[in-house]
């Protein structure tokens, strides 16, 4: 058997072909007080070689989406309906063992605190080797594993000698690079990066994001970036989804969503991010607090905080509708949002 990972060779990418399709996913957490509607009717598609971003504030369900895709949800979570198809195969119908074989190998992950998840008493190299042992048992011998890991480390910008070091000998940025090396170990088609650089200093963050982007291009992988930091997402993604209270409220090409946000929440979120470039413009504050997902508002979940809310918003849930160019918005009044620009100037 030959392994494609050997050379970390670029995969042939067809950007029109879907890799991962999330279709009307509904997921709830059962707690004592009732059911928390954490992911509500979320649909999006990640194409081959595409970088997709999910942004939103804490509690909006972005991490729940990530965990759903990996089937790593806590035991009180329940998939209510929907499908998650990877290369056409519904992940929700796989057995636990089948799913385990796909993790790391087909979908891998880089989590926020991941750099602190290394076991302190084992060498980093040995911990990566464990993944290779699981997925390439009897395929790679000891020396091949070593060569492969050295290539991985070189790819993420670490000296291969660091493989023999313990986690405490690494700095924060190096540990996060090692996590990325591990995520690449089995040459996955999709990486889910949940706040991959949040705990890092800005210069290190910049280096790691560049590295990730380069590797993604070189290897022909797809990435889902999840972050609350809109500036980071703006720089590294091709498509962007904005989540609010468990719902995807806007989705489209990153440039288009940034240039013309059409959901009032997305608009206010993007316009409330301070930037060091451009004129020092007025930031838009968002009034109120995100809703309690035990008892989400009826109709549009944003209506209690929305400047355009009408009776219809309170009553009917707006569908995520295409407004041209692959840009989709879930708002009854999306054509009014440009008016906000004028209101903010005043």
């Amino acid at each position: 058997m030959t392994i494609s990972v050997e050379d970390l060779a670029a995969r042939q990418v067809d950007p029109t072909k879907p890799l991962l399709e999330v279709d009307r996913l509904v997921m709830r957490y059962k707690i004592k007080a009732g059911e928390v509607s954490a992911v509500e009717d979320v649909s999006f598609t990640v194409h081959q070689g595409e970088a997709v971003g999910l942004v939103g504030e804490s509690g909006c369900g972005k991490t729940s989406v990530a965990l759903s895709l990996l089937r790593l949800l806590p035991s009180n979570a329940e998939y209510v309906s929907g499908e998650i198809r990877l290369n056409g195969e519904d992940l929700l119908f796989l057995s636990n063992e089948e799913m385990r074989q796909r993790r790391w190998k087909e979908i891998s992950m880089v989590f926020q605190g991941a750099m602190n998840s290394w076991n302190p008493v084992y060498r980093v190299g040995d911990q990566i080797r464990e993944t290779l042992d699981t997925h390439y048992r009897g395929v790679m011998d000891y020396d091949q594993q070593r060569t492969h890991m050295e290539k991985l480390f070189t790819a993420v910008g670490l000296p291969p000698t660091m493989l023999d070091r313990y986690p405490h000998e690494y700095s924060g940025g190096m540990r996060q690079r090692a996590v990325i090396a591990m995520a690449l170990a089995c040459s996955p088609q999709l990486i889910i990066a949940d706040e991959p650089t949040t705990a890092l200093d800005v210069i290190v963050q910049d280096q790691i994001l560049k590295e990730l982007k380069r590797i993604q291009k070189d290897l022909g992988m797809s990435i889902i970036y999840i972050s609350h930091d809109i500036a980071v997402i703006a720089e590294v993604t091709d498509s962007l989804g904005v989540m609010y209270a468990g719902k995807l409220v806007e989705y489209g090409p990153t440039a288009s969503v940034f240039a013309r946000p059409r959901h009032p929440y997305a608009y206010l979120l993007l316009r409330s991010t301070p930037s060091i470039t451009g004129p020092r413009r007025q930031l838009a504050p968002l009034e109120g607090e995100p809703p309690d997902l035990l008892d989400p508002p009826t109709g549009c979940r944003f209506h209690p905080r929305c400047p355009f809310a009408t009776e219809q918003c309170e009553r009917d849930e707006p569908p995520l509708e295409e407004i041209g160019g692959g840009h989709r918005v879930a708002c009854w009044h999306h054509d009014q949002v440009p008016e906000l620009e004028g209101a903010l100037q005043r």
């Binding site: 994001l209 809109i230 440039a255 940034f258 301070p274 060091i276």
Partner: protein
């Protein structure tokens, strides 16, 4: 006795243009223990001889990577840490003291004038005390006012920080509030004594974007109305842009560049500031940043060599940097101070590189 708020105008009027805080050669060295009975021979030079001033009502941003000494500086200014050297002269209307030399009851008196807001609103409050207890605690410690008077003052502050109606918050506990509300409580607690100076250590970095904006607006509004000066510690230059009149950039215990906020952002001169600014992601996919690349992460300042602190990571380091001591902060433009020997050469080198890139692009 009760506390009443002063306004900006009467505060600065009484100060005759003197700075509120004047920091000279401030230094903090942490000993590294080498065994129980051995006296330490190695020191971390967390803050290493820094100088700056803060005017009444001014807000100075202290930015830098983790471990650069910015929080240590903040803590020393409010006497939560004892500096190992230097002076912190604090001048209020009827008050002038070297904070570094205060002892006992003098410290308590000083705390009426200087307060602190911490980063994590979930950890900086006692979960078993009500909002009233938390906000009125400085008054209780200072033995100011009767309980009804304190209650009136707390209500006044809760209204000021936008928690309305304040009566509903008085006897609630921190766990009943959201992160943004808690940080409002922290602001109220810091302002309850009507201080003239507040150190805010990353007050918004734990908050979501939309809530962050409202806390930032609240703090600027109150600073203007009450004439409070801030030392605003942050790693986020974009936030500093909205909060601060001036910015000081710290690197390994030294201030490497200081100046008016927009000036620093538009014309950074120190190579570290340039690199820092070029690494900040921009929330607009149509903008391409011009990279100024430097090596890896920050090191620790353990017994640092005398030459420039930035030398190891500096892509422009030359002979002069290796043979001279750490460069002094020198004025290079109005109020714009830079600690680098090669400012002009670096500008020329970067301009040449840019021309080369442009030429290749054509």
């Amino acid at each position: 006795m009760t506390v009443t708020d002063t306004t900006m105008s009467d505060r600065s009027a009484r100060m005759n243009g003197q700075p509120l805080l004047e920091i000279r050669d401030l230094e903090m060295r942490f000993p590294i223990s080498r065994g129980l009975f051995r006296s330490p021979t190695d020191f971390v030079h967390a803050v290493d001889g820094i100088n700056f001033q803060i005017a009444p009502g001014e807000s100075l941003g202290l930015v830098g990577e983790s471990g650069c000494g910015k929080s240590t500086t903040g803590r020393m200014l409010v006497k939560l840490m004892e500096p190992t050297g230097g002076s912190i002269v604090f001048r209020d209307t009827d008050y002038e003291r070297d904070v570094a030399k205060l002892h006992g009851s003098e410290v308590k008196e000083f705390r009426r004038r200087a307060q602190m807001i911490f980063q994590d609103p979930y950890e900086s409050m006692n979960p078993r005390r009500t909002i009233f207890d938390t906000v009125s605690e400085p008054m209780a410690v200072q033995k100011i006012g009767t309980v009804p008077e304190r209650e009136r003052r707390v209500l006044e502050l809760l209204r000021l920080v936008g928690l309305t109606p304040p009566e509903n918050f008085l006897f609630r506990y921190p766990h009943e509030l959201s992160g943004g509300q808690r940080q409002r409580i922290a602001v109220a607690r810091a302002l309850v004594m009507n201080p003239s100076f507040v150190v805010a250590d990353e007050p918004t970095s734990m908050l979501d974007v939309s809530i962050r904006i409202s806390i930032m607006e609240l703090m600027t509004k109150l600073a203007r109305e009450l004439g409070v000066s801030y030392l605003y510690i942050t790693h986020d230059l974009a936030v500093a842009r909205y909060m601060c009149d001036r910015i000081a950039v710290m690197y390994l215990g030294k201030i490497v560049e200081m100046g008016p906020t927009e000036e620093i952002l538009a014309r950074p001169q120190h190579p570290y500031t340039k690199a820092l600014l070029s690494a900040v992601p921009v929330p607009d996919p149509s903008i391409r940043r011009t990279p100024v690349e430097i090596k890896g992460g920050i090191s620790k300042a353990i017994n640092p060599p005398p030459e420039c602190r930035f030398i190891e990571r500096c892509p422009f380091a030359a002979e002069v940097c290796r043979t001279s001591p750490h460069p002094p902060l020198e004025e290079r433009g109005e109020q714009h101070l830079v600690a680098c020997y090669r400012v002009d050469e670096i500008d020329r080198e970067l301009a040449a590189k840019q021309r080369e890139l442009d030429a290749r692009a054509v």
